[in-house]
């Protein structure tokens, strides 16, 4: 959509420049010649003010439709906490998702086709939670919880990238998101629960929200 509108405008500008260079360049003997004294043309100026304005408003409206669509609250969604700290990600699955003890992990597992509502917290500076494959990113800001919604639709493993300069290890602040089937997801949660139980680790994702 953007490209369809952009290319003709760029081609138009370049075409006019090239045509002028070819057609109107100074020929030998014209060193002292001047062009015709055309000062303007109101109709033309109105046209090239209104048409771009209409195109732009059209584009903005279209982008709102897409944005509204992307951010619509679905009927059913699960909550996953994301915590950024220099220079690692951790992910929290509350009891409402695990159906038992909460789970914390440094790997993000998501069930395919399920709408996810991420709650983003930072322990130190600002990070940005970006999954290029999902085409979505949002900053992770200390002091507030930022929410962010996505529905993975394709199985696979994709990179998670910190996309806001957060210090020395910024370029290495990476993790993986594994989009798996519903049953695999449940099984993974079970193994994580038993692992946490044995190591005695606890997770308090809400602590950063103050």
């Amino acid at each position: 959509m953007l490209v369809i509108v952009s290319i003709p405008i760029f081609v138009l500008v370049v075409a006019v420049i090239l045509y002028c260079c070819w057609q109107f360049r100074m020929k030998p003997g014209e060193e002292l010649k001047d062009g015709p004294p055309i000062h303007g043309n109101t109709r033309l100026e109105v046209v090239w003010t209104t048409i771009p304005a209409i195109i732009l408003l059209g584009l903005v409206s279209y982008s709102f439709v897409v944005l509204h669509d992307n951010e619509k609250k679905p009927a059913r969604e699960i909550e996953v906490g994301v915590t950024g700290q220099q220079f690692a990600w951790t992910f929290q699955y509350p009891p409402s998702v695990t159906g038992g003890k909460p789970v914390e992990s440094d790997q993000l597992y998501l069930p395919k086709g399920e709408s996810i509502r991420f709650g983003l917290h930072s322990k130190d500076v600002i990070h940005a939670f970006w999954i290029p494959a999902f085409r979505l990113q949002e900053d992770v800001v200390p002091g507030i919880t930022v929410h962010y919604r996505a529905t993975p639709t394709r199985l696979g493993t994709y990179p998670i990238v910190c996309n806001l300069l957060c210090g020395l290890g910024h370029s290495l602040m990476r993790a993986q998101v594994h989009v798996v089937s519903e049953t695999q997801f449940k099984a993974w949660l079970k193994t994580r629960q038993s692992a946490t139980a044995s190591s005695g680790a606890t997770s308090t994702p809400a602590a950063a929200a103050g």
Binding site: L2, S6, F10, V13, V16, I17, C21, F24, R25, M26, E30, L32, D34, G35, P36, P37, I38, H39, G40, N41, E45, W48, T49, P52, A53, L56, L57, L59, V60, S63, V66, L67, D124, V125, I126, A128, W130, P132, A133, R135, Q137, E138, D139, V141, P142, G143, I144, V146, P159, V161, N163, L165, C166, G167, L168, G169, H170, S171, L172, G210
Partner: protein
């Protein structure tokens, strides 16, 4: 010898700077001792002394070279020492290295020192591209790399693009409006000398303990408030550069409003003057905001104010709002003077009047107004309240309309003209193509769903370089070539100029074009290491960027050799109508031996017998209202 240490100059500056360090040591020691050990572990603290020194030493340097002399004498009730104009016109190179109140000397001081910072910033970019030529660590560690891109951006924004436009404007504007100098010559001299101070602070930060400031030129809190002391260099360098641009903007505004020649109404002003008028409005309104943002960071760092410490009630997002409230208008501060230059070059080189002159002037003012309503489009993914995105996206799209009007009007000016395709014109046309691309990618970024994906990726890096390199720098080159004969009295080498254009244009696109693709594929910016799948494209970009760097050498060689031994320039080599071309090259000491009278528009090319200004015995200054006597007073000062 003792007189040398008392007279304004570098001798006096050097002992005053030593005094500045001693003062900082004494002050911090006194404060720490009087508040007791409980707060401060030691009376003598290196970082505290350094922080105070970074304020005291530059100020005392400016006192030393004589930036404040006149006002100090006046304030002390002593006899003031009027300028004797001895260094006007800069007879030797030494006249460029002292406080000099001649706007033409200051213009050259500004332009040359800005280009020095362009070279430093460009060399830093070469180091970055060397590091990015392959995935993994090549030459520098993460901290140094973060320092490199931070200093690169800061130098090129605060010490190249903004001041070089101020420099060209300084030289050209008084000439264009028929004034003998700027309204406040001493303020003008002081505002120039603030720049090298800011530049030395930024470059000097590499020698600070913990390395240069490394949080990008955006210095987002709270990363910047916890960073090593190099960050203080940035916070303070921005204060000096910002003060410089505010002073110059005030000077431009007063000069343009009060010192126009008789007959020069606002709608007879050349568009470069209009553009600098608009830019100065932006600077005066917006620049205090970045000063504030960096003072907040400094107070957080040095004195624990906790403006941005969320755990102590600070507000992290506020930094970004204050910062971008300056830094978005700053984009126009870095572009509008370029629009002015391109208007001059295109009208003269196409031998036609500017198409739709009034709309060109009004669209500048529209950009000034709208420029203050779009800042949060830099924050679409920042976690701010989500409704703010929608009005900001609409205004961002709308601001493309006045910009579009300008582009279409330039195209219409070319139409049916007699195009002289020499170096300034080639750069102006190159600007039109690359800036259009930068503008289009800007409109794309206004579309929130798209921005959410590519924000802070290489797509942004590509966009900003299309706007600031393909946009601003192309117009700067056009302007430097165009006014080179007027500034130096010599002609540049046309053949080398064309080589410079074509190498710059080709390698610019080859360097920054592919970065759009990298961004769309998901390569984040500000990383010294990246996923191996981006390797081959990055290697190609690095090679092209080195060629782009080399193309600058053609420019330098051309400028240096032409200035030293180029053919002598006639007063009006381009057959321009504006007033600066009606006086000798370089112009006389007070610009106009006779006060010009403006009788028509600035771009009446092709109108038989039309002139913009006359030097015929016209009305005497006393009969033409307020502007006349002022000019005479300025000339005799």
């Amino acid at each position: 010898m003792a007189a040398k240490f008392r007279a304004p100059g570098f001798y006096r500056a050097s002992w005053l700077m030593v005094l500045g360090v001693a003062f900082s040591l004494g002050l911090t020691w006194l404060v720490r001792m009087s508040t007791g050990h409980a707060t401060f572990k030691h009376y003598i603290d290196g970082e505290a002394i350094l922080t105070v020194s970074l304020i005291a030493v530059p100020l005392l340097f400016l006192v030393g070279i004589g930036g404040f002399d006149y006002w100090f004498y006046w304030a002390a009730g002593r006899k003031t020492r009027p300028e004797d104009h001895s260094s006007h016109g800069a007879k030797t190179w030494k006249d460029y290295f002292r406080i000099n109140t001649d706007h033409k000397v200051i213009g050259i001081q500004y332009t040359v020192s800005s280009f020095f910072f362009l070279l430093v910033g460009g060399l830093i970019a070469m180091l970055m591209r060397a590091e990015l030529a392959a995935p993994g660590a090549q030459f520098v560690d993460a901290n140094t790399y973060n320092g490199l891109f931070s200093v690169h951006a800061s130098l090129l924004i605060f010490l190249f693009v903004i001041p070089v436009f101020a420099g060209l404007g300084n030289f050209v504007i008084p000439l264009m409006i028929g004034a003998p100098d700027m309204a406040f010559p001493r303020l003008n001299a002081l505002s120039f000398w603030l720049l090298p101070v800011a530049g030395v602070l930024m470059i000097g930060s590499f020698f600070a303990p913990g390395g240069a400031f490394a949080d990008g030129w955006t210095a987002y809190a709270p990363l910047s408030t916890d960073a090593p002391v190099g960050q203080t260099f940035f916070s303070l360098a921005v204060q000096f550069a910002g003060a410089s641009s505010i002073m110059t903007a005030l000077n431009f505004l007063v000069t343009i409003i009060t010192m126009r020649a008789p007959g020069m109404s606002f709608f007879r002003m050349p568009l470069l003057v209009w553009a600098n008028f608009a830019t100065s409005l932006l600077v005066v309104i917006a620049t205090p905001f970045i000063a504030a943002s960096q003072f907040f960071v400094l107070l957080d760092r040095a004195l624990g104010f906790n403006f941005f410490n969320a755990a102590k009630g600070g507000d992290v997002l506020m930094y970004q709002h204050v910062f971008w409230f300056y830094s978005h208008p700053a984009v126009y501060i870095m572009m509008l003077p370029g629009f002015g230059i391109v208007s001059e070059v295109i009208a003269v080189k196409a031998r036609k009047p500017i198409f739709g002159y009034r709309m060109m002037a009004f669209s500048l003012l529209a950009i000034v107004g709208l420029g203050f309503t779009v800042w949060a489009h830099h924050m679409f993914t920042s976690g701010m309240a989500s409704w703010i995105r929608i009005p900001m996206a609409i205004t961002t799209a709308i601001i493309a309309v006045p910009t579009g009007i300008k582009i279409f009007s330039w195209l219409a000016t070319l139409w049916r003209g007699v195009l002289h395709l020499d170096t300034p014109m080639l750069f102006a046309l190159g600007f039109l193509t690359t800036f259009t691309l930068g503008g289009i990618s800007g409109v794309m970024l206004a579309m929130i769903p798209f921005d959410i994906h590519v924000s802070a990726t290489y797509f942004i890096v590509a966009h900003i370089h299309y706007v600031l390199f393909g946009g601003s720098l192309m117009t700067i080159f056009a302007g430097v070539y165009y006014w080179f004969p007027k500034m130096t009295g010599r002609m540049y080498d046309e053949r080398l100029g064309k080589w410079h254009f074509w190498t710059t244009f080709v390698f610019f696109n080859a360097t920054f074009g592919p970065m759009h693709i990298l961004g769309l594929q998901g390569m984040p910016r500000r990383v010294e290491d990246y996923a191996s799948k981006f390797g081959s494209l990055n290697l190609a970009i690095s090679i092209m960027s080195f060629a782009l760097g080399l193309s600058t050498l053609i420019f330098l060689y051309n400028m240096v050799t032409s200035w030293r031994g180029g053919p002598i320039a006639v007063k009006n080599p381009w057959r321009g109508m504006t007033l600066e071309w009606q006086v000798s090259s370089p112009p006389p000491i007070f610009n106009f031996d006779k006060v010009p009278t403006v009788v028509g528009g600035p771009y009446e090319y092709g109108v038989p017998g039309a002139v913009h200004g006359t030097f015929a015995p016209g009305p005497t200054p006393a009969t033409v209202g307020a502007s006349g006597p002022r000019q005479v007073a300025g000339a005799n000062e």
